[in-house]
């Protein structure tokens, strides 16, 4: 078990392992996202209140799930990097941050587009929208902090600390925003009032969620591999790898 983890920490070994795993996750992501999209957009029944506009849920919900899970995985990777000094963990954290920020933006944007037919407005200071917006700022802070250090090692450690501070704060922010919203509740619609979905609606959603997660894993593996090559470009095994390729 420990030997496996130690091996995983070696960039060379991770590079080899991820080469074998990567195609499977890409294939899974492609198949599930294509099936989920077709199923959700063409075959799932229309909502009796919202009509076809509810179909945006098949993008919105997986993106919102990922927005939160990516932050947690980034903080866990940061913790692993800080405690065990495993470089691969930091490379993964570095490539996860922009992806998480992008997913948060997709969730916010698709929510805004969805808001027009359902609420009649692009933006509402809804509790979930607000905490999502704060999450986006947290991501931007982590990305900006990493970029502003001259030494990559300090930037990596600073970003890890900030990600951990952020992950402790996310539940606090979430609950305080929820409470703030219930105190200021405006008399308008709520997303939460939509009825429980029938199986024919949530099954494609489940497919999409799993598809998005495989996409996240595949993309993280791929970008971590690139990051390994970039940072280890003066190591012998990387040079040998490229000589073989030539």
């Amino acid at each position: 078990m420990w030997a496996f983890i130690h091996k995983l920490g070696s960039p060379k070994w991770f590079y080899a392992l991820s080469a074998r795993l990567q195609p499977w996750f890409w294939a899974l992501a492609a198949v599930l996202i294509v099936i989920g999209t077709l199923w959700g957009l063409a075959f799932a029944p229309a909502d009796y209140q919202q009509g076809n506009s509810f179909r945006i849920i098949y993008i919105h919900v997986p993106a919102a799930f990922l927005a939160q899970s990516v932050f947690v995985s980034m903080a866990v990777a940061g913790l692993v990097f800080m405690v065990w000094k495993i470089k691969v963990a930091d490379m993964a954290a570095a490539v996860m941050a922009p992806f998480g920020a992008a997913m948060t933006f997709v969730a916010l944007f698709s929510g805004a587009v969805w808001g027009v037919p359902t609420w009649g407005t692009w933006w509402m200071w809804d509790a979930r929208l607000t905490s999502m917006l704060i999450l986006l700022f947290l991501y931007l802070g982590v990305i900006a902090l990493r970029g502003s250090f001259a030494s990559r090692h300090s930037g990596a450690r600073a970003a890890s600390v900030l990600a951990m501070v952020g992950v402790i704060n996310i539940p606090v922010i979430k609950y305080s925003v929820d409470w703030w919203y219930t105190l200021h509740q405006p008399a308008t619609f709520s997303v939460t009032s939509s009825p429980a979905m029938p199986v024919s609606m949530w099954l494609p959603l489940l497919v999409m969620v799993v598809g998005f997660y495989s996409f996240f894993i595949a993309l993280t593996l791929m970008r971590t591999r690139n990051e390994i090559l970039r940072r280890e470009s003066n190591k012998r095994w990387v040079k040998e790898l490229f000589q073989e390729a030539q």
Partner: protein
């Protein structure tokens, strides 16, 4: 060869270091804390501008709102809790950048890191001084500005109390951001990007307390949560500050 030598030197010197450490660990910490507190207080009081600037900023920002929005007392009264809290929060944020900056520039931050006492405790002393000379004066000054925004009379004590409690959490959380950015040449804007999202819970319950006091709902629940936030940040933030300072110094 050299490695072996340093090892043996370490082995020789380690017992001596342990003895001196074990001799009086608690009194050593007490002395170090008192010294840090006194040094920071003296330093801050010598640079009175540093202490006064956030207060002047607070008053100025509050002056801008009636000019920019409307001098109508009814409207001002409605938005006063939020305005006072946001302005105080920004004033506290403004003063954060100098929290570790001077010590970083003159090298005394490195001495703090080298001290045998835990860095978390010593940085807590620095944050305490920051709160004492920024958060507390802001809290005491807020009722005065509240009068100018025609805040109802019953809510002044709650305003001060919520600001005093809340600004302590703001100082603690903000110190993590200040410690992370102290090594950067232009950390100011980055500092606000890092810290402001983390300030939101404090803002919600702080402004909520004043709002509740105006409505007559009783601000106890809000103040209790502000206290809970303070207790949590008091327990957790010093470790974050210490880790961040180590990164900024060693990087």
């Amino acid at each position: 060869m050299t490695e072996g030598m340093t090892e043996s030197v370490k082995q020789q010197s380690a017992p001596a270091g342990d003895e001196s450490r074990n001799a009086a660990p608690s009194s050593g910490l007490g002395i170090a804390l008192a010294a840090t507190l006194r040094r920071d207080l003296v330093l801050m009081l010598r640079y009175r501008g540093e202490v006064l600037n956030p207060l002047v900023f607070f008053a100025l920002v509050i002056t801008l709102f009636p000019i920019g929005i409307s001098p109508d007392p009814e409207l001002l009264q409605r938005i006063a809790p939020g305005l006072l809290w946001v302005a105080a929060l920004l004033a506290a944020l403004l003063s954060l950048d100098s929290l570790f900056r001077g010590d970083f520039d003159d090298g005394s931050l490195e001495q703090l890191l080298l001290a045998p006492q835990p860095l978390a405790a010593l940085s807590l002393a620095k944050v305490a001084v920051h709160w004492l000379l920024t958060g507390l004066p802001l809290a005491l000054m807020a009722p005065l500005l509240g009068v100018m925004l025609s805040l109802p009379p019953g809510s002044y004590s709650i305003l001060s109390l919520s600001l005093a409690l809340g600004s302590a959490s703001l100082s603690l959380i903000g110190a993590i951001g200040a410690a992370l950015t102290v090594g950067l040449a232009r950390g100011g804007v980055l500092l606000s990007l890092l810290v402001l999202p983390l300030y939101i819970p404090v803002l919600i319950f702080g402004a909520g307390a004043v709002q509740a006091a105006i409505m007559g709902d009783g601000a106890g629940a809000h103040l209790a949560i502000l206290g809970a936030l303070l207790a949590a940040s008091l327990a957790l933030a010093p470790w974050g500050i210490a880790a961040a300072l180590r990164i900024s110094i060693n990087g």
